[in-house]
């Protein structure tokens, strides 16, 4: 019984959603410039998907997201490992970290565009800046989460430092780190798209704004669906990475998605 509802749950939910959507559009007579019906959106989607420009835009947004994410990951992990292990440094930088955390980084987007221009570069920077903090926080958390009992084991075995880092510190930190990466990839995507909203010649964010300006609301919806698909695939990538790297952890089990 439970298995059945697990398999059928999602498709049924989607169908119900589509029916409600179409039902509302039909019954309320709302203008298609405000809320197009699912049919119109699907048609728009099929239209734009056949254009090479759409795919090019998708690649641009994807590239910015992944580029920013990669930078944030490398710098975040490196900084996180240092701050996680050097307690006095972390304490000293605590006010700075908190200060940076509370600033809504989205508000910095115009600034980055002024600094880094209208091209892909500024979007990569924005994506990296947004994605950096979750990676940093979670790396620090992960590094600190090594259990004392496990440390004792390594001490009594007289393990050299490199062995300790590889066999103890890194695996201990991975669950928290991967959680940070999950959050980071979503934020990197947001950063790239918002950057494109504000100032871009390219990418799906720009395409969305163009559709908005042209009152092509059905195309706008279709672009949103494409963005959701990209975001979903990236997130799925991290989930699969989790299963690959930490199959032993509760969060890395195949039943968790």
């Amino acid at each position: 019984m439970k298995r059945t509802s697990a398999i059928w749950g999602t498709p049924v939910a989607i169908i119900v959603l589509l029916l409600v959507w179409q039902g509302y559009v039909t019954l309320s007579g709302v203008s298609p410039l405000i809320l197009p019906g699912p049919g119109a959106v699907l048609r728009a989607l099929l239209r734009i998907v056949q254009r090479p420009a759409t795919w090019q835009a998708a690649w641009v947004t994807l590239g910015e997201t992944v580029g920013g994410f990669a930078i944030a990951t490398v710098t975040g992990i490196a900084t996180g490992v240092i701050l996680g292990r050097v307690a006095w440094l972390e304490r000293a930088l605590q006010p700075v970290l908190v200060g940076v955390q509370v600033v809504p980084k989205i508000a910095l987007v115009p600034l980055f565009i002024v600094w880094f221009g209208f091209g892909m570069g500024s979007k990569i920077v924005i994506a990296a800046v947004l994605a950096f903090l979750p990676v940093l926080s979670n790396t620090i958390l992960g590094v600190k989460s090594v259990e004392q009992g496990h440390r004792d084991v390594m001490t009594t075995l007289r393990a050299p430092l490199l062995n300790r880092l590889w066999l103890l510190d890194l695996p201990s930190a991975l669950p928290a780190l991967l959680t940070g990466l999950e959050v980071a990839i979503v934020l990197a995507n947001i950063g790239a798209v918002v950057g494109e909203f504000l100032a871009g010649n390219d990418g799906l964010g720009h395409m969305a704004v163009a559709a908005l300006n042209g009152f092509e609301v059905d195309v706008l919806f279709a672009v949103i669906l494409l963005l959701a698909a990209i975001g979903g695939l990236l997130y799925l990538g991290i989930v699969l990475l989790r299963r690959l790297l930490i199959p032993w952890h509760a969060t890395g089990r195949a039943s968790v998605l």
Binding site: L157, L168, P171, W248
Partner: protein, 245 residues
């Protein structure tokens, strides 16, 4: 491996001032001997074991061990690495010693069989019960072929029946190779059952109160626990422990 402790003391700095955890410990452990440290909370038995294990530094005194002793340590929590399978956990000391994977696997299989975990090498630690995890921890401690095995309340987290079974297991393993074992416990029956000598420790500050020789022949079965001689020793210890309270 022979161990001699002379004048070992330990003071901790706490927020309310220095605390003397161990006052002055003189103890000699002969090679192949099974010594049990018995005492209530706060008597310093775990501190003493951790000092011998190198996990803490003594504030005073000398620890002499003959030769470059290899240690095997078993903690109250099994402390297996959740990201390694049971076999890899057991083989961890061998991996650190640079032994090749195939040789490691073979040795781990041997050790697993020795502690009654044959066939469990591919399992993850969280798939094992508490008792089985502790067996794996013991196997890991034995992997280095240690000169001395230090056990810090290794069965404290187990239920009573598993604990009794593990006591018999420990005796069996000890009889196979006659390694030096130093075990910490607060269970009087466990102490008297396992030990050649019971070192009774008193708290505040921690020190050795008395040392009792346990004269029963090996191997000791569960029957010996009901004999009047056994009960007499247990009673003597129990009375003395009550006086510490």
């Amino acid at each position: 491996m022979q161990v001699a402790l002379r004048g070992v003391a330990k003071t901790y700095a706490t927020s309310s001032g220095p605390t003397l955890a161990l006052e002055h410990v003189d103890l000699e452990i002969a090679a192949g001997e099974f010594v049990v440290l018995l005492g209530p909370s706060g008597c310093g038995k775990t501190t003493l074991l951790r000092i011998i294990a190198g996990l803490e530094q003594a504030s005073a005194g000398v620890i002499e061990a003959e030769g470059e002793g290899r240690l095997g340590v078993v903690f109250q929590e099994a402390n297996l690495f959740p990201w390694l399978r049971v076999g890899a956990n057991i083989a961890l000391p061998l991996r650190l010693a640079g032994i090749a994977p195939a040789a490691r696997r073979a040795r781990a299989a041997e050790l697993a069989a020795q502690v009654g975990l044959a066939g469990f090498e591919r399992r993850w630690p969280n798939e094992l019960s508490g008792g089985m995890r502790q067996r794996a921890a013991i196997a890991r401690a034995l992997a280095t072929d240690p000169d001395i095995v230090l056990m810090d309340e290794p069965f404290g987290a187990l239920d009573a029946m598993t604990r009794d079974a593990m006591n018999l297991e420990t005796q069996r393993l000890w009889l196979e190779r006659r390694r030096t074992i130093l075990l910490v416990t607060h269970s009087i029956a466990e102490a008297v059952f396992l030990a050649d000598r019971v070192v009774l420790m008193s708290p505040r500050p921690g020190r050795i109160d008395r040392i009792l020789d346990i004269p029963f022949d090996r191997p000791r079965g569960i029957d010996v626990q009901s004999t009047p001689e056994f009960q007499a020793i247990v009673l003597e210890l129990r009375h003395r422990l009550q006086e510490f309270a």
